[in-house]
């Protein structure tokens, strides 16, 4: 499935230093293995309303160091499965950032926008052009290059690699 390049969604706004333990609680890491099931526990320890009320295309807007701490991949996958369209943050924990993009979940760094976006407002992101529009104005961020689009279109790094290998053998 082709990923969308224009995203429109409602904002869930969070603060600084949200670690992967509260994005996907450690107690589920060995018991919950199905991605769809993971979505039920997304952000459980940070915002119990999130998993119940999140709608497809909603957007997480967070402060600095979103996804710091443990390298668990489920933290990216549970958000992807919840339908989250993108995460915008001032900065990301390094491994979580990679896990998000490798799971085909756009992770965007736009500190100026984070300061002015309000919780629950509807914002629009043009991924191809690297533009973000919110009530307070427009902001730009480095657009995602071709390779990341290819990973997105394949549905993540593992299927992407498989696809590329197969096409090189044709």
């Amino acid at each position: 499935m082709k990923e969308k390049s224009i995203l429109r969604g409602r904002v869930w706004k969070y603060g600084d230093d949200v670690n992967t333990d509260v994005i996907f609680p450690g107690k589920y890491t060995y018991t919950v293995n199905e991605p769809s099931e993971m979505a039920q526990y997304a952000l459980e320890d940070l915002d119990p309303r999130f998993a119940k009320e999140v709608k497809p295309d909603d957007i997480i807007v967070a402060g600095k160091n979103w996804g710091c701490g443990s390298s668990r991949e489920q933290a990216a996958i549970c958000l992807k499965e919840s339908g989250v369209g993108a995460i915008i943050a001032k900065s990301f924990g390094r491994i979580h950032y990679r896990n998000c993009l490798n799971a085909a979940l756009p992770a965007l760094i736009c500190p100026e926008a984070v300061d002015v976006i309000e919780d629950k407002e509807i914002i629009e992101i043009d991924l191809k052009r690297g533009e973000l529009r919110c009530a307070a104005g427009s902001f730009s961020f480095p657009p995602l290059p071709e390779i990341v689009w290819e990973i997105f279109d394949a549905g993540g790094l593992i299927p992407y690699t498989r696809k590329r290998l197969e096409s090189s053998r044709d």
């Binding site: 710091c68 990679r98 896990n99 490798n102 790094l157 992407y160 290998l165």
Partner: protein
């Protein structure tokens, strides 16, 4: 506008003229480094449909984490690695006993100036000691490199640290590293490249320098860099596996932050449980009782470290009831330490000397602490449970403090040992 070190290397490896922070590039690394986790990488590689690795010369595998195998399970894992090495014709394979991967990569002349090392280990920034760009990545990503030869990376912002002046006698690069991490914090270089400049870096030996890029991982750094100089080139003579071209940042490069430190005013430091940035001057923690002292790891298990520690311990004895574990970081170091008499000094003092590798650093084997015990170690990480049990404490210090503490049974500076 000029470019920083990392911007230049990543642009070059992506085949671009230039690259700036935030940009995502697809790079082909010079080295793809893995260790005992190569077995799990291989299984993901096969799930991806991989049959032949795209470039066996790029791949380096060094068995070090649990070597020689402590359990049958570990031995099976090593067997799979040996099989895949044979199957895929990987030449740069170093079997158990050769040493810790980051140190061996440098000794084997595979971590070279201006080159890109991607490693499935968090201390891959170590390659910065040679002026290389070392970046830690995940196992799945390594599998993808084996299959395709490339990986996407985000070009990081750069933090420039300038260390003015020289370290006083008795203060080591470990103390400097701990001071930087204590002051800047565990997220002080999150997702950044850290360039280390200044007299306080230039005057260090290669062995002393290695501690710094290695430990910048503890500030969240993606990679770290020391500008290669004559010392680097001399070290690489006869070692470098191929011709290399050093890369230097432009004088007008743009940094996200510039931090300056004065080396001449520094003192021995200790990282206290349970975070690496919980750093205090040695004088404040002296007197803390310990059960075990550990000298080794990629951070501080080199010949100079062993020499300094041997000088402290020579003619003395490890305190009753205390274990002093010594693990040279590589077989090259082990042999030289043997010839120089350091190993003899350790054994005469009652220390336990074990074969090169990571040993108890990650709690695998060869001297893990018991519940409730306190360790002092030359390693780079003291997180809860790092050495096996969550119910133990780890202090991090420089090699002479660790050796002196083994003698005293408590944390102590060597000058306070008495005769």
């Amino acid at each position: 506008m000029g470019q920083t070190f990392v911007e230049k290397v990543l642009a070059k490896k992506a085949g671009l003229d230039r690259a700036g922070p935030g940009q995502i590039v697809e790079v082909a690394p010079d080295v793809a480094l893995s260790h005992d986790n190569a077995a799990s990488i291989y299984s993901t590689f096969q799930k991806m449909g991989g049959k032949r690795v795209v470039d066996p010369k790029m791949i380096v595998i060094i068995l070090d984490h649990a070597t020689p195998a402590p359990t049958t399970k570990h031995a099976e894992n090593h067997r799979i690695v040996r099989e895949l090495v044979k199957e895929q014709s990987i030449d740069h394979f170093y079997d158990v006993g050769r040493g810790v991967c980051h140190q061996v990569l440098v000794e084997e002349g595979l971590a070279l100036p201006g080159e890109l090392v991607l490693g499935s280990d968090s201390h891959t920034p170590h390659a910065g000691v040679m002026g290389g760009c070392g970046v830690g990545i995940g196992r799945g990503e390594m599998a993808s490199i084996w299959a395709l030869g490339t990986l996407w990376l985000r070009v990081p912002e750069t933090l420039k640290i300038t260390v003015n002046g020289c370290l006083p006698k008795g203060v080591t690069s470990k103390d400097l590293a701990l001071k930087l991490i204590g002051d800047l914090g565990a997220d002080g270089a999150l997702y950044m490249s850290v360039e280390l400049h200044g007299e306080g870096i230039e005057t260090l030996t290669i062995s002393e320098r290695a501690v710094l890029p290695n430990m910048m991982a503890e500030m969240g750094a993606k990679c770290s860099y020391i500008p290669p100089d004559q010392k680097t080139f001399d070290y690489l003579k006869g070692r470098a596996k191929r011709a290399y071209k050093p890369v230097y940042p432009d004088p007008d490069a743009e940094y996200i932050r510039i931090a300056e430190f004065d080396a001449s005013s520094m003192e021995p430091m200790v990282a206290c449980p349970h975070t690496v940035d919980h750093v205090r001057p040695l004088s404040e923690v002296a007197g803390t009782p310990i059960n075990q002292a550990f000298l080794g790891t990629c951070t501080n298990g080199r010949l100079e470290d062993l020499k300094a520690a041997a000088q402290v311990i020579k003619g003395r004895q490890v305190a009753k009831g205390i274990r002093f574990i010594v693990i040279p970081a590589s077989s090259e170091i082990y042999l030289k330490a043997l010839q120089a008499g350091y190993i003899q000094a350790f054994i005469e003092a009652g220390a336990v000397v074990e074969s090169p590798g990571c040993g108890p650093c990650m709690g695998n084997h060869m001297g893990v602490p018991a519940i409730g015990e306190v360790s002092i170690s030359t390693a780079n990480r003291n997180f809860k449970g790092r050495m096996g049990t969550k119910e133990s404490e780890i202090y991090l210090a420089n090699p002479v403090v660790v050796a002196a503490s083994a003698v005293a049974g408590e944390i102590i500076h060597p000058k306070d040992l008495g005769s």
